[in-house]
């Protein structure tokens, strides 16, 4: 009899887990709430650190999506239960599925910047998020953001919704730093007359080629870095923004007018991740991301036999890390299913 696995979430983690499980001879059901696969990957224009087109990664994942994978798009989970033999799922359209293993790959969503009211997102015209900027970049509409603007300056604000106890997110989202540097370069590259400033607390260039990007931003593109966390933003009559912070390296308060403010929004677990966790009784950490059975060794299994985690349900992660993690998850699922024979 064929062994089966249901993967919930058709983003990067879910797709790669499905591809690998299929290769290992397991029958796969992939459930995605949207009308197409790819998740957040569909929102990015170019990827750090080499700024390759995100579509190339989408195409790679899409190549692996063949008829062996039973795909359920626009699918929302109504109920989910475990009858000791199988995991059972009833979708909202009435479809029933069951499997021997379950992979949670429902990922994250970006922090709701409106919660940092003093930054003016959703209140002032020229405050956007890093995700929205990607949309302008992807549609080649960057110039539109500066039409009729009196200020040729952009402020990129790091750590929005991350490293912030006040919004309940103590953790570092770890990928916003490099995203900010990438976007700063992209703005300078496409519109050289725009001045770009990054406002940061620490620049966490932890991964391979990240520091090199930071170097390039300084040397080749003249991006300016000011160490200080944004205190507040206020809108001027001409809809430019007056921002205030401490320039901590001179020890002086600093004010500056910018035409556009870009907020580097961090990761929070998606509502679906949290809903499934509560349906299954999975453990959440203090950061509300899901906990694997062991942080170092059992990184993809959970305390519940047959339930596995893949990708950003466990915390902030980039595309490369997510793909690697999905492969590890697939191996763990396969090992579990083989041991049950």
């Amino acid at each position: 009899m064929n062994k089966t696995a249901i993967i919930i979430g058709g983003g990067v983690a879910g797709m790669e887990t499905a591809i690998q499980l299929l290769r290992l001879g397991i029958e796969v059901y992939l459930i995605e709430k949207e009308s197409r696969l790819g998740g957040h990957l569909n929102s990015w224009d170019h990827l750090f650190p080499n700024r390759r087109d995100s579509k190339e990664v989408s195409e790679y994942l899409q190549l692996g999506m063949n008829e062996g994978i039973s795909l359920h798009l626009n699918a929302e989970i109504d109920t989910l239960w475990n009858d000791k033999k199988k995991f059972n799922i009833k979708l909202k359209d009435g479809t029933r599925l069951n499997s021997d293993a379950l992979v949670i790959a429902t990922g994250y969503e970006v922090f709701d910047a409106r919660k940092k009211e003093e930054y003016g997102y959703g209140i002032y015209d020229n405050v956007i998020t890093s995700v929205e900027l990607e949309e302008f970049l992807r549609n080649n509409e960057l110039k539109r953001l500066f039409e009729g603007k009196t200020s040729k300056r952009v402020g990129i604000i790091h750590c929005v919704g991350s490293r912030d106890e006040k919004v309940g997110n103590l953790y570092c989202s770890k990928l916003c730093c490099v995203t900010g540097v990438k976007q700063a370069i992209e703005i300078r590259e496409r519109m050289p007359d725009i001045e770009v400033f990054c406002f940061y607390m620490d620049l966490r260039m932890f991964d391979r080629y990240f520091e090199e990007m930071y170097f390039e931003a300084q040397e080749k593109w003249g991006v300016q870095f000011i160490r200080g966390r944004l205190s507040e933003a206020a809108e001027n009559q001409d809809h430019t923004l007056l921002i205030k912070l401490e320039d901590t390296l001179t020890g002086l308060p600093l004010k500056m007018n910018v035409g556009l403010l870009i907020l580097l929004v961090g990761f929070v677990p998606s509502p679906e991740t949290r809903r499934l966790a509560s349906m299954l009784g999975l453990k959440e950490g203090d950061d509300r991301f899901l906990c694997p059975a062991d942080e170092h060794t059992l990184t993809n299994s959970t305390k519940i036999p047959g339930v596995f985690l893949a990708g950003t349900v466990k915390g902030p992660e980039g595309i490369a890390g997510t793909i690697t993690d999905a492969r590890a998850a697939a191996l763990q699922v396969a090992a579990y299913l083989t041991s049950r024979e």
Binding site: S231, K244, G251, P253
Partner: protein, 118 residues
């Protein structure tokens, strides 16, 4: 030493006061007391959002982020001058991402320096 009396030429050199933080000599008892009473200051990550929004800091050289560091280093002489500039408006506390109780820090420093006659 009077160089003229000794018949020597004065080249105009003076001994300059050491401006290093002398970590071993500084009175860090005060640091301990303040940390014990307002322990949230240990959570400061030096981001400066407090100073960026500070009403007093816009017009004087008051820098509340620096006040925390002065406490931690035991720089009591500097502290005494600094804390008089705060107006206790509390804006710093509203923007602090780590929830440091900065108003109580100022009050605590006042009390400690007064209690120990510094």
């Amino acid at each position: 030493m009077n160089f003229r009396v000794l018949g020597m030429k004065s080249f105009g050199y003076t001994i300059t006061k050491d401006r290093q933080i002398d970590f071993d000599q500084n009175d860090r008892k005060v640091t301990g007391y303040i940390n014990a009473i307002e322990s949230s200051i240990r959570l400061c990550i030096g981001c400066g959002s407090c100073t960026g929004t500070c009403s007093a800091g816009h017009f004087t050289d008051f820098n509340i982020r620096r006040v925390i560091t002065l406490v931690q280093r035991g720089e009591t002489d500097q502290l005494k001058k600094e804390i008089r500039k705060c107006m206790l408006c509390g804006k710093c506390q509203l923007v602090c991402p780590r929830g440091v109780n900065l108003r109580n820090l100022i009050l605590t420093i006042h009390n400690i320096l007064e209690t120990y006659g510094i």
